[in-house]
């Protein structure tokens, strides 16, 4: 059978970098083909070749057996190849129906035929077994629903191949489940799905085939059931990696930070506390409140009361925050050095003039200890991979005298190796007598790191479960869903 979408020995070079080296990969109708690899393995470049953003230096892209020479993503889209990226191209102010039909609104005598627009949009959504209010502005939808709208749009243009780029990065477990339902329906309708993800457990669940890329090459290809997470990691990194999480040997000490009104929100010295909650349960708001980015916190830090009204007040008291999006944590166009200095201007610039020598020393040390690559303080942060960017966000706080770190989804969208490194850094930070409060939608990750978990629902804390007090994934899940 001819594959719907295929790459045949494609190579692509950017300046000095061989981004893709004779890669062949094909996706068949009704199949989900997963592509995994670390950042920089060439996954994104491959997607860009498929959808016409770049053209291969050599090799061919085939659509249903015929060579495709797309000049732009619009060409590829018109030919039936749709890409659903993390930045969803949904216009918030327009209605769901209009968003689904965007770009080819049915017209009668030059005037938009709204009845038909709604009918066609409803049909496209029904094919995915979705029903949402067609007249609601797309901006009122959650991330998962917007994603569905984008997929429905592709379907309404009779897409034959759908490329999903990190589709679950921003989704909750329940939403992932419904996305997988949508993908199943796409399969039964004969759509070929190329699925790119960092979440290896998911790949095992959804993929019919899985290709592993490393340094621009295909290093392994597995059929369904013939691989485990361990195999993928080994091929992705080129070495076997210890995925097991060592039981923590930190014994929490005195209470470091606590809420004056709710003692369940408390972090001890050497303690790591997880914050579990579904999207919209208020974990981000809680962290922002503690950090002073939203008003209303009444805290006690080492016995002293603290009600920060601006992040600078929290920082002065020794609290740092890693926000849930790296664009919130970093000035992307500025250098690694400038970003690390930013929250520590008071420390380095105490006497009007910045102490450049001290900065160089501290930044150099941090780049070394955190293994930030490239080892160049002057490089703009936007040139770094996701994992290295996140290390820079961490370095910002390690450069100061921070004793409590608030982390909001710190490992979202970064590769396995960087993730393990970050976990180690978080443990080391806590082991030095500091406290960590971190929100994560990956319960597995949370339980491997935390000594205690705070569950949240509807902007309120529903339970606090500590290690030794029945801390299991099931218990946390129950508390998150309010069935404790």
């Amino acid at each position: 059978m001819t594959p719907v979408l295929a790459a045949e020995n494609v190579s692509k070079r950017f300046l000095t970098i061989q981004a893709l080296d004779r890669v062949s990969l094909s996706v068949h109708a009704g199949q989900v083909h997963a592509v995994v690899g670390e950042n920089g393995a060439g996954k994104s470049t491959l997607i860009k070749l498929y959808c016409g953003i770049h053209r291969p230096d050599s090799g061919r892209i085939l659509l249903e057996g015929r060579e495709a020479r797309f000049q732009s993503p619009a060409d590829a889209f018109a030919a039936g190849i749709a890409v659903i990226t993390q930045e969803l191209h949904v216009v918030p102010a327009l209605s769901v129906a209009e968003n689904v039909m965007l770009g080819h609104l049915p017209r009668r005598a030059g005037i938009v035929d709204w009845r038909r627009t709604r009918a066609l949009a409803r049909e496209a959504l029904a094919r995915l077994h979705l029903s949402c209010n067609l007249d609601a502005p797309a901006g009122s939808l959650g991330f998962a629903e917007r994603q569905s709208v984008a997929i429905a749009r592709a379907l309404s243009r009779s897409a034959r191949a759908l490329i999903l780029d990190e589709p679950t990065a921003a989704l909750e477990a329940r939403e992932v489940q419904s996305l997988f339902g949508v993908i199943d329906r796409l399969k039964t309708q004969g759509v070929a799905v190329l699925y790119v993800s960092h979440r290896l457990e998911e790949v095992g669940r959804i993929a019919d085939r899985c290709t592993v890329m490393r340094d621009g090459r295909v290093v392994a290809e597995f059929a369904r059931g013939a691989f485990g997470v361990r195999d993928l990691v080994m091929h992705m990194t080129g070495r076997s990696l210890d995925l097991e999480h060592p039981e923590s040997d930190r014994t929490p000490g005195e209470t470091l930070l606590c809420d004056e009104r709710d003692e369940r929100l408390g972090v001890r010295e050497r303690g790591i506390v997880g914050l579990a909650g579904l999207l919209g349960s208020g974990t981000t708001q809680l962290l922002r409140r503690v950090f002073g980015a939203e008003p209303g916190a009444r805290l006690r830090l080492r016995g002293r009361s603290l009600a920060p009204l601006h992040p600078s007040e929290a920082i002065r008291a020794g609290i740092g925050m890693v926000p849930n999006e790296r664009t919130l944590g970093l000035v992307l166009s500025h250098s690694v050095r400038d970003n690390i200095v930013l929250p520590n201007l008071g420390r380095f610039g105490a006497h009007w003039r910045m102490d450049e020598r001290a900065i160089d020393r501290v930044v150099g040390e941090l780049i070394e200890t955190l293994d930030i690559r490239p080892r160049d303080p002057g490089v703009p942060v936007r040139a770094l991979s996701g994992g290295n960017q996140q290390k820079v966000v961490l370095a910002k706080w390690l450069a100061g005298r921070v004793s409590v770190l608030l982390l909001d989804e710190p490992t979202q969208g970064i590769d396995v190796a960087a993730k393990t490194q970050l976990h180690r850094l978080i443990r080391q930070f806590a082991a030095r007598g500091n406290g960590v409060l971190f929100a994560s939608s990956e319960l597995h990750e949370m339980l491997s790191l935390a000594d205690g978990v705070i569950a949240m629902r509807d902007n309120a804390i529903t339970a606090r479960i500590d290690r030794g007090g029945g801390l299991t994934e099931a218990a946390v899940r129950d508390a998150m869903h309010g069935q404790s």
Binding site: F14, L15, T16, I17, Q18, A19, N39, G40, D215, G216, F291, A293, H310, P311, S312, A314, I315, R316, M321, P323, T327, L328, G329, L330, V331, L332, S333, H334, D338, V341, L342, P343, L345, G346, F348, G349, W352, R353, M354, R373, P374, D376, G378, V379, P380, R382, A383, L384, S385, N388, K396
Partner: protein, 319 residues
């Protein structure tokens, strides 16, 4: 691979860094080939004096644009400050006059800062408002006449407008001195780092503990005060406060900042590069004059240069 890409990015950046200077040298070269009246001491002296007033305005604009803002009111402030300085000088002497001119500029800047940060008005609209408002106020205040109508300003002030120090006009020394001080402020002080960070990413700066509203407001005060300085300089050169002076200065200044390679969305740029941008604008105008190009065509040419600079800004920051 990431590493290699990072290096490639830096090399490319290093070349782009020097583009404004290359453009200026090429422009000067072309003009001096077309006319032998360009590279004369007299003409170059003229270019310097012309550039000096606009350079001071553009330096203030650099602060605002670096922090992610925009200031259209500076042209009107130049006129207001010139008239206020002249009027105060007639009453209370040179020092009081100069101080009044700069202070009223800073006041307009403070109002801009308040409207932009506290009332959350888009900077373009806010300063468009003060631009029109201040221009109206100047005409009311001066009764549409130059100040003083009769009599002359103090001699010391007039000397400043025409006199020289070490063979160079006093007027030129002002931006030279400001260039050194303001470059130091932006590059070496924690305040300067905060300005860059605020423009680079307001939210990231806020979450790093920067008081972004204060920083933003302060840049409008810089801009207003420096436009005030420029107004006083212009008054000493024109030997009077002129209510119609400073027109289109805001556009020339913005164009100069962008030509100097600063990012229009903030966070990237340098004072000395703005000065290069100022020279590109002034040399272009001067060259077209020497070549006897019709003044309407000059406007067309300058408009094209502004559009080209903004387009270059877009290309540079497209990823």
């Amino acid at each position: 691979m990431r590493q290699a890409r990072a290096w490639a990015l830096r090399r490319k950046d290093a070349l782009i860094e020097q583009m404004p200077l290359i453009a200026l040298v090429v422009l000067g070269g072309v003009i001096s080939l077309l006319t032998d009246r360009f590279l004369t001491p007299l003409n170059l002296g003229n270019v310097l004096v012309q550039a000096s007033v606009i350079a001071v305005v553009a330096m203030g604009m650099t602060f605002v644009i670096l922090a992610g803002g925009f200031d259209l009111s500076v042209g009107s402030v130049v006129a207001l400050s010139g008239c206020a300085a002249a009027a105060a000088m007639m009453q209370a002497g040179v020092v009081a006059g100069v101080a009044a001119g700069i202070a009223i500029g800073a006041l307009v800047g403070a109002i801009n800062g308040f409207v932009v940060t506290t009332l959350r008005v888009n900077p373009f609209i806010a300063t468009l408002g003060t631009m029109v408002l201040v221009r109206g106020a100047v005409f009311l205040f001066s009764d549409s006449q130059q100040i003083p109508i009769d009599g002359t300003l103090p001699q010391a002030f007039l000397d400043f407008g025409v006199g020289r120090f070490l063979g160079i006009h006093w007027l030129v020394w002002v931006p030279v001195w400001l260039l050194i001080v303001l470059s130091w402020v932006l590059a070496k002080t924690s305040y300067g780092r905060a300005v860059y960070a605020t423009g680079g990413s307001r939210e990231a700066a806020y979450l790093s503990g920067i008081r972004v509203d204060r920083i933003t407001a302060s840049t409008y005060i810089w801009s207003g005060a420096l436009a005030g300085v420029a107004g006083v300089m212009l008054a000493s050169r024109l030997q009077s406060g002129q209510p119609t002076s400073g027109e289109f200065y805001e556009l020339t200044a913005i164009a100069a900042v962008v030509l100097g390679g600063a990012a229009l969305h903030g966070g990237e740029g340098k004072i000395y590069k703005t000065i290069i941008g100022v020279f590109i604008m002034v040399v272009l105008g001067n060259g077209l004059n020497l070549l006897n190009v019709d003044s309407h065509w000059q406007r067309v040419a300058i408009g094209l240069v502004i559009i080209a600079a903004a387009a270059a800004d877009q290309l540079r920051h497209r990823r």
